[in-house]
């Protein structure tokens, strides 16, 4: 009834155009790269200075000078380019990326995103997230619809420290695809097994409709 992380990644991948420049956040969003629809080829950017890298090498064949932002080994493809960190974030901040897909703790109906800190305990770490949310033309989030405890992650206002203000435009959750338009959650797709009321009950702010709501389905992956 709910999409697995792999299926969320598959769904997010369907919206990426051929030739798009894409940054995928560390962790689950990285899987989006596996599911490019046939005939489309996106170019993947990583903060640490590679454009157009390829998949992970076979174990034992890693080159530790060729890694992605998650410090995982990647490979070269035809047309790869290397550059330094300032040029890399010029691409980000300068609005040259078409899509960034990030994980999140919370997304507010205003588009506010919280994904870098769960509060004052522990060691804070931000990486490139605060830059990415202001750079890409389209900033999407991929996350479970609710927390492990069942609390909504789509909320009226974030309770956790913000990564960015008003920056998210689409959420691929485990239950729905939701756009953020003018400070409102607009439901585009939901898993067919769930009624609108049931989905609303798991969502921390009002779900608005603007046209028909599609079925959110994904192949078994």
């Amino acid at each position: 009834m709910r999409l697995t992380p792999t299926q969320m990644a598959w769904r997010a991948a369907q919206d990426i155009e051929d030739g798009a420049y894409v940054n995928l956040g560390i962790g689950q969003p990285e899987m989006v790269a596996r599911f490019q629809p046939p005939g489309r080829e996106a170019i993947f950017h990583t903060e640490n200075g590679i454009l157009g890298f390829g998949e992970a090498p076979p174990p034992g064949c890693e080159d530790w000078d060729l890694i992605n932002a998650g410090k995982k080994a990647v490979t070269l493809k035809s047309g790869t380019a290397f550059f330094h960190h300032a040029d890399s974030f010029a691409m980000v901040r300068g609005g040259h990326l078409d899509v960034a897909i990030l994980g999140a703790y919370e997304v507010a109906e205003s588009g506010d995103l919280a994904n870098w800190s769960t509060g004052p305990r522990g060691v804070p770490a931000v990486g490139g997230a605060m830059d990415l949310v202001h750079g890409a033309k389209r900033v999407a989030v991929m996350m479970d619809h609710v927390t492990k405890d069942g609390a909504p992650k789509l909320v009226r206002a974030c309770s956790l420290p913000l990564t960015g203000v008003g920056c998210v435009t689409r959420v691929y959750s485990s239950l729905a695809v939701i756009d953020i338009v003018a400070g409102r959650f607009v439901l585009r797709e939901k898993v067919p097994e769930l009624t609108l009321d049931a989905l609303q009950a798991m969502t921390g702010a009002t779900l608005h409709l603007d046209g028909p709501v599609g079925d959110l389905t994904a192949p078994d992956l």
């Binding site: 080829e41 047309g79 380019a81 974030f89 010029a90 300068g94």
Partner: protein, 244 residues
């Protein structure tokens, strides 16, 4: 993904009246002569584009390239650092007659403003120009006891650039000092069109040697043996060759 364009005419077809156009080159070195001349051809055939704002380090030399663009009356405003050259007659006459507006910018500030435009930095502080006529009216602030001038980013609708080798994804290398403003302008324009002497398939450029990554480039057109402004001027060329 293939960003190849068939010819210079197609490459400049999207430039409209009133647009801002960054044109690469430091003097003739790196000047995209064929792209500029294609723009002139279109203007002569259609009357467009005109009222352009052009950003270049200089203001043209002789009667080819940027000078020819100005000579046709296509340029309303020029943003540059050094509008002098061996033969600056075209710009000088247009400027003195009030047919062209000049915004003079110190060269390093011009470069940094363009980079800032490409890098999403709306403003920055520089010591350059402090206390001079070129900083008049600009905000001044002290950092660590020293005064600095605040400068704004510079962006454009189009960039026309000459590089050396390009692949079909838009990755570029340049040739010696012809690099100059090219990589910056590719970053700062909505649409960057690049003429390359040699067009190769992806993989034809060492990833370590890429100077402009393809993300900054929207179109590439191959011009195998590009004209050099300096050589044209020494030969006394004009563009178009015989004015109608």
């Amino acid at each position: 993904m293939d960003k190849t364009l068939p010819d210079p005419a197609a490459a400049v077809a999207g430039i409209e009246d009133g647009m801002s156009v960054m044109i690469g080159g430091f003097g003739g070195s790196g000047a995209p002569i064929e792209l500029i001349h294609a723009l002139i051809d279109r203007y002569l055939a259609t009357g467009h584009p005109k009222d352009l704002t052009v950003i270049n380090n200089n203001a043209g030399n002789g009667h080819v390239g940027l000078a020819a663009l100005i000579e046709q009356g296509m340029v309303a405003t020029l943003i540059c650092s050094f509008p002098r050259s061996a033969d600056p007659v075209v710009f000088t006459e247009a400027y003195k007659a009030g047919r062209i507006t000049l915004e003079l910018v110190p060269q390093g500030t011009l470069a940094e403003r363009i980079r800032a435009g490409g890098a999403g930095i709306p403003a920055f502080y520089t010591p350059t120009g402090y206390g001079t006529a070129l900083a008049e009216g600009k905000p001044v602030e002290e950092f660590d006891g020293r005064p600095y001038v605040r400068e704004r980013w510079l962006k454009a609708d189009y960039a026309l650039v000459r590089a050396h080798r390009g692949d079909t994804m838009g990755n570029l290398t340049y040739r010696m000092a012809a690099r100059n403003f090219g990589p910056l302008m590719c970053m700062a324009a909505k649409v960057s069109i690049v003429q390359v002497s040699e067009l190769v398939e992806p993989g034809g450029i060492d990833p370590e040697a890429v100077v402009t990554p393809g993300i900054f480039v929207q179109g590439v057109v191959e011009i195998p043996d590009p004209a050099q402004e300096e050589a044209l001027n020494r030969a006394g060329s004009r563009y178009p060759e015989v004015p109608a």
